[in-house]
């Protein structure tokens, strides 16, 4: 696949083409108000840092009704749960950052795992075309390179867009993306070298990435049993803000809500930081205190997911948990401690 370019004066037409037959979502608003919103083609903003929350709610809303039943015995299907459908719709999302797209690709392997396919997720992701916007000026809390990604990363995207002066470069990554770009009337251009140059500069701005490879090779139980978890978790409030903001956190709870006429089974985001998350009916809790719960979160991101996903880490370096944590528990510091554990075991 070749690259393409959209000249500054053709940008609105490009976004019109993206929006044709689909809803076009792009980041709108500033700071903590920045989120993906439906955007008229002439109102797309390329000057944003990143959305306040990760884009996972597009495919995995915080609250989603899965199925419903009614209790009217005089009508068919009383007390039988019926699917409410997966509610997907054709979407074009422009401006997802590579870290977040990678997060979606990691969650995608959970929602479509080796045994089961989550139809609610699949129904949405299959109808979405994701156009990422590369980061040419990463934020201070960004560390995608340290986690094996890049400000120009391609995982999870259909098209990678990047700023080429005042123009917009496009690199289609999937057949779906290729089709979209071709339909937009963008001109082909050989930009492979330009991308390399821009990427190198963007990576450089994150400094020399720390090396966490030790974790990948370390024994799981050695990492798990290391005494540092007690100190790592000591100041944690167990609030779970990190999990709500994380682009790869995908845990949920399933709950029934009822009314006079029947009920709805819905799923809601849940957090491994909560005591309730793992407690058994008997009262036994496999992760009874915050130390176990904090350990679970970081082990999941940095060891369990890589084991299950061919070495890809469950953290993409978006930096949200670092920025949002009320007590500044920094996953980079934790990864460093785990790396030290690994080194001392080796």
């Amino acid at each position: 696949m070749s690259e393409y370019i959209v000249k500054e004066n053709a940008l609105v037409d490009f976004f019109k083409s993206l929006a044709s037959g689909r809803r076009l979502l792009t980041p709108q608003g500033l700071g903590d108000k920045c989120k993906l919103e439906e955007t008229p083609p002439d109102k797309v903003n390329l000057d944003f840092s990143n959305t306040h929350m990760s884009p996972k709610s597009l495919l995995f809303p915080q609250t989603e009704a899965l199925m419903a039943f009614h209790n009217d015995a005089s009508k068919p299907q009383a007390f039988v749960y019926q699917s409410l459908g997966d509610k997907g719709e054709p979407l074009a999302v422009f401006g997802i950052r590579p870290c977040d797209a990678k997060g979606l690709s990691i969650a995608n392997k959970v929602f479509q795992n080796d045994r089961f396919t989550d139809n609610y997720w699949k129904g949405k992701i299959d109808q979405a075309v994701l156009v990422g916007l590369a980061c040419d000026n990463p934020s201070p809390q960004c560390f995608c390179a340290a986690m094996g990604g890049s400000p120009f990363g391609e995982a999870g995207l259909d098209v990678l867009a990047f700023r080429q002066g005042k123009d917009l470069g496009l690199k289609p990554l999937t057949p779906k993306g290729e089709e979209l770009v071709k339909a937009s009337g963008a001109q082909t251009a050989n930009l492979a070298d330009a991308i390399k140059g821009l990427e190198a500069e963007a990576v450089k701005s994150q400094g020399v990435p720390p090396d966490y490879k030790g974790i990948d090779n370390a024994d799981l139980m050695a990492l798990f049993n290391d005494p540092h978890w007690l100190a790592t978790a000591e100041n944690c409030l167990n609030c779970g803000v990190c999990t709500f903001f994380c682009p790869t956190c995908h845990c949920f709870d399933i709950q029934d809500e009822t009314s006079e006429k029947g009920g709805v089974r819905m799923r809601n985001w849940d957090t491994c930081m909560s005591w309730l998350f793992t407690v058994h009916g008997t009262g036994h809790n496999p992760r009874p205190s915050k130390t176990e719960r904090v350990r679970q979160r970081f082990m999941h991101k940095l060891k369990y997911i890589p084991l299950k996903q061919d070495g890809v880490r469950g953290c993409t370096g978006c930096g949200r948990c670092v920025a949002m944590c009320p007590v500044n528990i920094d996953i980079r510091s934790v990864a460093l401690k785990m790396t030290q554990t690994a080194a001392s075991q080796a």
Binding site: S83, R115, F116, L220, M221, I254, G262, C272, T278, G281
Partner: protein, 279 residues
């Protein structure tokens, strides 16, 4: 698209109170749509999410055997919101089951081997399924000696009385049922499961053990088997953890990188040795 969250509608055909404290009831379900029974093709050791409309779901091991057609059985302990609600339901009520979920006991890999089945309390459910499956005339010749050790606190807390009494009369399975303390007119063994295991457990050669029971029973039975010479690969256990989706997605039942629901619940002791004890 197939919806793995959507339960098959079932009707409660029969409810049987299993124990004298009435905390365990066995529910016999019939599928509302007969074609769902085929889709619900399971093997011993798998579980399902029992779905009560408006209350929620609970993961429960399947107590019936695939050889028993026309119905499925689940024995449910009264513990939380859903199970308590189920204990107040009656025959004819409609609810749902979702599954089968998890992996079965690896019986296909155990062909030609002796099997010792050790159960404690109400954890016997999936092992009832296993024994019923193994004792089919067509299946039984594939396996060597079968030994069944089953314990509970008192006679009134033993499940499936008619069945194990019938098994006891057969000569193709050795049955040892035990209670914690002597009671009058008790014609079987007395003592804790580990002690009985020590006494009657077959030699480890060409033998696999399936164990399911409360943590304290497993804690003390495991050394007995080790002492008898059982390799950890041949000690097979079934775990439980809090679950919601049963599909390896919702994230709460993991033991290290493995999800008890999707990758388990059946693990060998050798596998568990390499995993955190978060269960």
């Amino acid at each position: 698209m197939n919806n793995p969250y959507l339960p098959y509608p079932v009707r409660i055909a029969e409810i049987r109170v299993e124990t004298e404290d009435k905390n365990l009831r066995t529910f016999k379900f019939e599928f509302l749509n007969p074609e769902d029974e085929e889709k619900f093709a399971y093997l011993p050791g798998q579980f399902a999410e029992l779905s009560v409309p408006g209350q929620g779901e609970i993961p429960i091991g399947i107590a019936s055997s695939p050889s028993e057609k026309g119905f499925v059985l689940f024995t449910v302990n009264r513990v939380g919101q859903v199970s308590s609600y189920m204990h107040n339901m009656k025959a004819g009520d409609v609810m749902g089951i979702r599954g089968p979920l998890g992996h079965p006991y690896p019986l296909d890999k155990l062909k030609g081997r002796n099997i010792v089945i050790i159960a404690g309390g109400f954890a016997v459910t999936t092992l009832r399924s296993t024994i019923t499956y193994l004792l089919q005339p067509k299946v039984r010749p594939d396996f060597g000696k079968i030994t069944f050790i089953y314990g509970a606190r008192s006679p009134g807390l033993l499940l499936y009385k008619d069945e194990w009494m019938a098994w006891e009369k057969r000569d193709d399975i050795d049955v040892f049922v035990t209670i914690d303390r002597e009671v009058p007119n008790w014609g079987y063994k007395v003592g804790f499961v580990p002690a009985v295991t020590k006494e009657v457990c077959p030699p480890p050669e060409n033998t696999s053990a399936l164990i399911c029971g409360p943590p304290v029973m497993i804690k003390f039975t495991q050394p007995v088997l080790e002492e008898a010479g059982y390799q950890h690969e041949n000690i097979i256990m079934s775990l439980e953890n809090r679950m919601k989706c049963g599909l390896g997605i919702c994230g709460r039942c993991n033991v290290g990188p493995e999800y008890v629901c999707k990758d388990g619940p059946v693990f060998t002791l050798a596998q568990l040795n390499r995993l955190p004890k978060e269960y």
